[in-house]
Symmetry: D2
Subunit: 328 residues, 4 copies
């Protein structure tokens, strides 16, 4: 039974490139052609970079060509400021590698998602604590002169709140303010419970249609916006369908000793499997999500690390200690 087909039938997207790569690699039983992958280790985090290099890679991964960086940092979930500072510095470093912008380039930070739905509120929370400087740019305090590039920030809300496609709102603002770069922050869905509030994904491809917890309908990327878009996401939920499927898979691993049984299981057609899972999910279907009880606190915590990382990346001449004085 093909996992990617099943997920797609259930309306489940794999937002994280590193997870999509794992699933495909396992199904293929070989390296995915057109995709390069490499890892770096830090005391607090492992950084995995997936580069989709060719059309072949794009098709296999169902993701556009580009660089996808995943920072897996388990201490992000703990209430430990020292670790958080280290992670935000790693984030700043990886961001700067992807951004490739001049010292005075202007940046628009976009916080995607619904501020009324906690697991989808990461983006708006980051915007809330972003160091906004665009309007100060000409009369910044003397001690900061030369340090601060022009940064603006907006949380455009979601279709159900505004009646307007998120991408339309952003495009309108981009046309009026002409930023050199967009950083778009979004909550993601993961297939691994372990990644909730511990991983950060960066991608220089922007946001694709249908991705994120709130399922964006239109893309926010170079094509649609006219300037480069770096996407920054943190997984906050697992689709309930994945948990249901994982449980079945784990059970079957127990049965592998019985070849008859295992064959029987492998013979279940995807439609039957899909139907089993849909019955379990009940009336909410793909809107039934799995999230830790303390998600409110995790969003609070991770949004602080993200805005700290962005501030360090965008204003490199302010030291990590110093900028906290200017942040909320």
């Amino acid at each position: 039974m093909n996992r990617s087909t099943l997920y797609s039938n259930l309306g489940i997207r794999l937002d994280m490139a590193v997870e999509a790569h794992d699933v495909i690699r396992r199904e293929m039983g070989a390296d995915v052609p057109g995709v390069r992958i490499f890892r770096t280790e830090h005391p607090q985090a492992v950084v995995t970079t997936v580069v989709v290099e060719s059309e072949q890679g794009e098709q296999a991964m169902a993701k556009p060509r580009g660089t996808y960086v995943t920072i897996d940092a388990p201490p992000l979930r703990e209430n430990n400021r020292e670790a958080h500072q280290a992670i935000s510095t790693i984030l700043a470093h990886e961001l700067r590698r992807l951004l490739q912008i001049g010292p005075n380039s202007s940046v628009l930070v976009v916080g995607l998602g619904n501020w009324n739905a906690t697991p989808d509120a990461l983006g708006p929370k980051v915007v809330e604590s972003t160091l906004v400087t665009r309007h100060l740019h000409h009369f910044a305090p003397e001690e900061l002169a030369g340090h601060l590039r022009p940064v603006s920030a907006i949380a455009p809300g979601v279709l159900g709140l505004t009646g307007i496609e998120t991408a339309e709102i952003i495009k309108g603002i981009v046309e009026k303010t002409g930023p050199d770069l967009i950083i778009a922050i979004d909550a993601l869905a993961t297939r691994s419970v372990d990644r909730i509030a511990t991983s950060i994904q960066l991608a220089n491809t922007g946001i694709q249609p249908g991705s994120g917890v709130g399922n964006k309908r239109a893309g926010i990327n170079l094509e649609t916006m006219g300037c480069p878009v770096v996407a920054l996401g943190i997984p906050t939920v697992v689709h309930a369908g994945i948990i249901a499927h994982e449980a079945i898979e784990k059970l079957m691993q127990q049965f592998q000793t019985s070849p008859t049984l295992y064959r029987l299981y492998k013979g279940i057609n995807p439609e039957a499997m899909q139907q089993i899972i849909e019955e379990v999910l009940g009336p909410f279907q793909r809107d039934l999500i799995m999230t830790p009880k303390e998600i409110d606190q995790l969003i609070q915590q991770t949004s602080r690390v993200v805005s700290a990382g962005i501030a360090q990346a965008l204003h490199p001449s302010i030291g990590p200690d110093q900028w906290t004085q200017y942040l909320q």
Copy 2:
């Protein structure tokens, strides 16, 4: 494989008496002794009353003797004010049947749960919109004279926020203010996705230790408080472990045609099953919960229905239209 043993090993409680009854009845294959059950139907809701009558019933159900009323009202989840008004009237009616208090008896409304964790915030939200009258009692506006009993309300928070057991805070307030009755509101865990934000459970037994989304450590009931406690709960989450288990069960129903296979499945010991599920749940374990994406809006909506129902039950001489003028 015994479901109640498995649940208990996984640390999953069945907060709803009607669900505990279902599970036990299925396991016994017969009526549960010492438990009576009956249903009433309304256009917008089905009301099921479970009465635990004897020690035998208490042991089977793992719930104390008393009356447990479940209002299953699917339109509670929809954004339909007319239906909500009908449901709050049914709620008021059932509450009044359980309360059995005089017209001037004083009532303390307690909103249990953590206001920072959306699916656990039902109780605090209800308190927020409760019509508080205790302090006005002697100088109420003329048009209300004779209508309003003394009502006070408190959301005591949770242990992690205050450092104090919730039951201690409430007991302290009860000793100072001497209410004749407590209504304790709490978010519940359910085993059925269909019940999320559609069912209301009332119980004249109060709150037992370990129940609710936030797992109360001490009971809030007649024994601990010295006055009757009516518990009012709405399910807002399903433990992720239940979804995992349901998926496995549903798969096995598919296999029932193969007696060998089904026997094999039935032979899995509870420890193995527990281990499979724990692996799926990952680091959060019993704190991994399943909840609909729009839980924030559902809590908003249901808390309004609950506070409207309580207002009608406690102040019967105010008409359903009239009281909205005095509520926020």
Copy 3:
């Protein structure tokens, strides 16, 4: 001593046309040329319409040509739903008179102001409870067919939060979505404590630069937006400087029996008066505002009346009872 000069030296604007008219009329001791004014009385409200008709009127009033409607409704401040419903119906009626749009014209509701500063949060609060329909327009529920015009809504924040001029954000969205009309909601400053949370001002001239609690820097009106803009404001604050000045004026009225003294007072030059008041205001100056303690609740209450009034005006075929079923 000229009051309008003093106000302008202190940086105090009169947001309400009816108040500007009062001040000028008193100073002139005669009718203001180029301005017409008339009143209608309702049981719950008095409606005053000020029409600025000519350039002469514009200069005297320091307000552009157009119609300014003030609904003075003292029960708006009370917690009385019946009165609120009556006021929202009057509001709907006056709005419809000003709007002059076809049944299918699309409307963008803009909530100006800072959601983090309570007295400035009226606009964002109204947006929160606006019935947004633009995205539903093609697949509305059958019972609403033909009823709902396309409505979108946005709270663009303030310069300090986004780094972007509010008018730029709105203009960008207008260019993308092409509404036929904008309704812009804003909190206002008044010179009369009695008007706080009791008056509603409508103006078919849009928002002028420098007006509102948060002092908009650019106008939001037909010229800047390319479509008609109706402004809807409710006073939530009095500048502290006005209170200081009123106290002095009231004292002097006591002294009118002594002609010497009164002459002395009238002889104080505006600079001296301005300096007295600035000393009283201390470090905050024009950012020191007077507001009732319960402003949070008043904003909550009045924003509900406003969104109800807008809903009735925009969707006339939905009855006043019916629409509450579709509103939050």
Copy 4:
């Protein structure tokens, strides 16, 4: 005209001992008997200690015998973390001098005030970021062993929200949990605009009835609670009546050159003055408060400094850098 009589007729209390002392000293034209006062200067703050020593002092000051410490720290109002850290260290130092408790004494932090009314929300905000340890006391992380005394925290709300006197709620909790000391945090009214969000007052006398922005009805002090109560307050509002009165006073200082006029002014009886001010205040009267536009941000900022100061005072073995790792 006697200022203290006027204030008392207008229902205005002077919450700050240092201000009460100023007013009385000016009226007496001499040192206040039974009251000692002394100052210490720091780079970021001036600390003034007022000691009310005798019954004579109590009567003059209308405040009970005890020590009142005012930290006047203008940078508290600025968004400057370094200065905030310095101020919280001064606060911790002054608190420790007043507390006089053993290393293991337990402390209950009480956040007074209404969380729905921004200028009154200081106390609840401090509670939100208080390091609560009472429940962890027996199983604290190893690295903290021996560092953390048992601390609990509660925001009891206000009479209008709960229907219960604040003092009753606290007393109930005190009887159940037996703390050795209470620290009660409250927003204060000041007569000086300069003190808003820049001063911190500590008092070992607890909270007196009628004080604070929300006018507590019953005292929270050694007599009512049975354990010492240290009050910690920050001024967030000026009563509008004071601004009106100050304006009149400032005007009259201009007139001092004319003895006739000044005599006339001095001859106004308090009732007439009171009436003038009441007319200016309009319908809200003593509920009309003056507060800076950015009060929401000031409450956020000052509450963080206060909870940091309390944490340092209560857990002295945790360094100022270290504790931020354990705080939200």
